[in-house]
Amino acid sequence: MSTRIFGSGIRRREDPRLITGSATYTDDLTLPRMAHAAMLRSPHAHARITSIDTSRAAAAPGVVAAYTHADTEGAVAPAPCAWHLPDSDLKMADYHCLAKDVVRYVGDIVAVVVAESRYAAEDALELVDVGYEPLPAVIDPEAAAAEGAPQLHDEIAGNQAFHWQVAGGDVDAAFAEAEVVVSDRIIQQRLIPNAMEPRAALASYTRATGELTVWNTTQNPHIVRFLTSLVLGLSEDKIRVIAPEVGGGFGSKIAAYPADFVTMFCSRKLGRPVKWTETRTENYQATTHGRDHVQQVELAAKKDGTVLGLRCTVHAGMGAYLSTAAPGIPTILHGLMLSGVYTMPAVREDVYGIYTNGTPVEAYRGAGRPEATFMLERMMDVLAARLDMDPADVRRKNLIPRFEDGHDVVTSLTYDSGDYPAALDKVLSHADYAGLRARQKAGPANGAYLGLGLATYVEICGLGPSQVAGAIGFQGGLWESAIVRFHPSGKVHVFIGASPHGQGEETTFAQIVGSELGVDPQDVKVFHGDTDNTPMGWGTYGSRTTAVGGAALALTARKIRDKAKVIAAHLLEAAVEDMEYEDGKFFVKGAPDQHKTIGDIALMANVAWNMPKGVEAGLEASTFYDPPNFTFPFGAHLAVVEVDAETGAVTLKRYVALDDCGPQINPVIVEGQVHGGVVQGVGQALWEEAVYDEGGQLVTGSMLDYALPRADLLPDIEVLSTVTPSPHHPLGVKGIGEAGTIASTAAVYNAVLDALRPLGVSSVRMPLTPERVWQAIRDAKKSAP
């Protein structure tokens, strides 16, 4: 039975409610006496608030109350940053939930209006009188770090939030002995995560009990509860945070947000439920963005393509304030991955985290790793072009050979397991890489230039050992928890601390229990997202839910199995040492016909009529699993594009993705994660960018201007896999949530630049819009001799 359940692409247990419109997302909830909040947001990127008057708004029809910073003084602390990056001269500016004196980005909250309906609240927003004295603004992180730039925070010189360095090996020696050095300047443009469900909070404070219940669009309700207790000064035991159905996050629902705390404050102040749901416009302005790096990178190599070292400087835009996990993203999750899948003797990177007048930047799918992979994979292609080698050959020359149990790399990490050459070879042969190259050599057809782009990658997942979390300044643990409870009829409830929001763990976790204990996954219900009925956990991000929470669950199931074995031995009047377990059956060695099922044991344990001496009633166990190491999924991707040289338009013709996430619990769900991840990365390469104007206004302020991937712009993705188990994970699994995004931006970019090589183009800024490609072709023509 175990083999059938583990690895089977069964239908998702989540779906019946989702396909019928019966699921409940935060904004679907209505409570008795519920009022509606609307946030007045700064229209200026940087301005001093000279006056503020809510009296006209407060007197408007249907309005219950209107508040500004002055009303929250002493009642709402600044939204905290919880990643205190060590050895980085970290300077954290106060992120007031309602702006105090100065607004620092378009979207900073200035006032809140609470009314009987959202329409009335919106009407009243127009009646809040605010005087602003505009100040100069800066959006580009390099410009913000330069001398003479507008200064965001009085106490923070040069807008520098931190300076962090990672170094390993002798990088100066590597460059000194290099036969060839290639370099590039890479802009990892600012992106808007665009979870389809806008963020929302429904806060209900009961004065009589002093209890606060919050329904919140979050990836990590336990963290929100903990931080709420700090920000609002409420006792943690009186706060209940519920992440009901959550419509995607991609990192943008990790942070603890000012608007959520303001909504909670309003409920507490008014003693009635208050709901706030952002509009998409607000989502674009004030829900965290991703990426925003300016990277200057150099790669040292020998003439035969052997890589010797990499050094780079990164200016990472942090936005106006440090979001909850922000400092760790362009540093720990980025810099430590800079040697990638290659034997890289030396690396040095300096990362400058810079305050700018943009929306705060946080984790966004991949979070630091796509930026590292892109940098490295781009440089491999630049090196190949310089040496006139095939990009596949340059990679093959430098790939770390297969290893099964630990490989130390120059950035101080120990990868768990990998077979990078096998991944690359499988992709190349599946795609008929040689045939594609031959077609490319034949020259453009009808003005369409063919391009091939590779990205071979490894990522860091399964965050992570809590001791490491502490050492790198994360103000929390990174373990996960699970409780498994058998009911008398053999049905199972599972309670987990993580908080999936689309990834399908209600199904895959039922499969884990099913395969470990021989129960039908349909009989396993997984509870998550409610701090009142789930054990503490740190949330769903960084591809960690299955990699860490899944381990907690597997070990819990094994505890259950051990106890069940004792009970079965008792019932079969045998010694425990003589018991065997297989496919849900406990039997005496050599006598499988005489057996007890887990259902038999569950009944006996719950009625407890005939238990072995000293064994407690009930069949329940829990585990708090702190992983011994991270996991390191890897893979190889190939993009095939055509570029219309006349217009600059790029068409993605084929995409082959090979990802190795270890054994797959549910291959259909794995494939779905790859599809979605790849397309998000393609979006960055070809279409997506948050654009601000000189004054700091967000020009791509709605879905009319910010181009998201659409069905009609994409081909089918060809999904392949290899299976290299993690040696330290109880199930060998590694995580798959971000893999696609980590590889695909680089693969597509490399493909487009490969197509443009005969035209003399060596660099184009992302996204690769028709105009940018056309302009690059034109510039190359002009500068050609």
Partner: protein
């Protein structure tokens, strides 16, 4: 998003629209709502009243008579794209209607609302100008017809008076032998036209006869590309002749083109000849095969309401 408050009136006839317009100064007409409601939601417009004209039967439907297609102002883009009459007599119009927005938008957006809104990035004005359409307009004093050439005056500006109502669009049926095409460079997010080029071409004795080329998207209001027309007229329709004629479009573009962060004015200027060339090539292909019934934009479209 949440629109500001407004009063609401429903008109049941064209006559009543006029009466309500006169009674409620500043009122806006609501047809499909796909131009107006987004503006209301973003609070970029705050009219005191809306007059809902969406149920007026006399403004709906497509008919052919006396060498012209008459399309009621409330006819939706989807209906136009699916109409066999439009496919037969104004194929470029069917094509353009079929690439507006997305299916749900095409189900609601109307031709009358579209042309009255006169968005420069819209598809229909470009095609209607190329096909020599005119607009039937109900006024305070009766009716008048405004040719497309005089209708679109500037960005979001038409020749319509304060109380004027577009009741129908009249499109001359394509003459025997004419080929039509609409070529669109779409904005990847909004789906509006970055550039739209329409062409209607006839062939006489193997040479290009009457040819009309229009452009939208990059100019405040759709324009005729007279230089292209002149350059191509009388030529044998070779690829080179088409490309040379298309290049002449630069003479028809004024100094100020529309540009934005996605496509600058410079890029649009450079792409205008490409777009024109592709429209002409497609139109000429159809002109040479006029014996066959022109292909509808969506041959798989099987409307249940017709």
């Amino acid at each position: 998003m949440y629109a500001p408050d407004f009063a609401y009136y429903r008109a049941d006839s064209v006559a009543e629209i006029g009466r309500l317009l006169r009674k409620h100064p500043g009122a806006k007409l609501l047809a499909g709502g796909h131009s107006l409601i987004p503006l209301l939601k973003l609070r970029l417009a705050a009219p005191p009243a809306l007059i809902d004209i969406g149920r007026i039967g006399e403004l709906k439907g497509i008919s052919v008579a006396d060498g012209r297609l008459r399309i009621g102002a409330l006819t939706t883009h989807a209906q136009i794209a699916a109409s066999s009459e439009v496919a037969a007599h104004a194929p470029a119009l069917a094509a353009a209607a079929g690439v507006i927005g997305d299916p749900a938008v095409r189900n609601r957006g109307t031709i009358g609302g579209n042309v009255a809104h006169a968005d420069p990035a819209s598809d229909l004005p470009t095609v209607l100008l190329a096909l020599g359409a005119s607009f039937a307009v109900a006024t305070d004093d009766g009716e008048r017809a405004i040719p497309a050439g005089g209708f679109f005056q500037d960005m979001m500006t038409t020749a319509l008076g304060e109380h004027d109502i577009v009741t129908a669009v009249d499109v001359p049926t394509a003459p025997e032998g004419q080929g039509q095409a609409y070529e669109k460079f779409s904005h990847p997010a909004s789906r509006y036209a970055v550039i739209g080029a329409a062409a209607a071409v006839g062939l006489t004795g193997g040479k290009v006869g009457r040819v009309v080329v229009t452009l939208g998207g990059l100019v405040p209001a759709a324009i005729r590309a007279g230089s292209v027309e002149q350059a191509l007229s009388g030529q044998a329709p070779s690829a080179d002749a088409i490309a040379d004629a298309a290049a002449a479009v630069s003479n028809d573009l004024g100094p100020d083109l529309i540009g934005d962060i996605y496509a600058s004015a410079e890029y649009r200027r450079a792409m205008a000849p490409v777009c024109v060339k592709r429209a002409l090539t497609a139109a000429l292909k159809r002109a040479s095969s006029v014996a066959e019934a022109p292909a509808a934009r969506s041959p798989w479209w099987k409307p249940s309401w017709l």
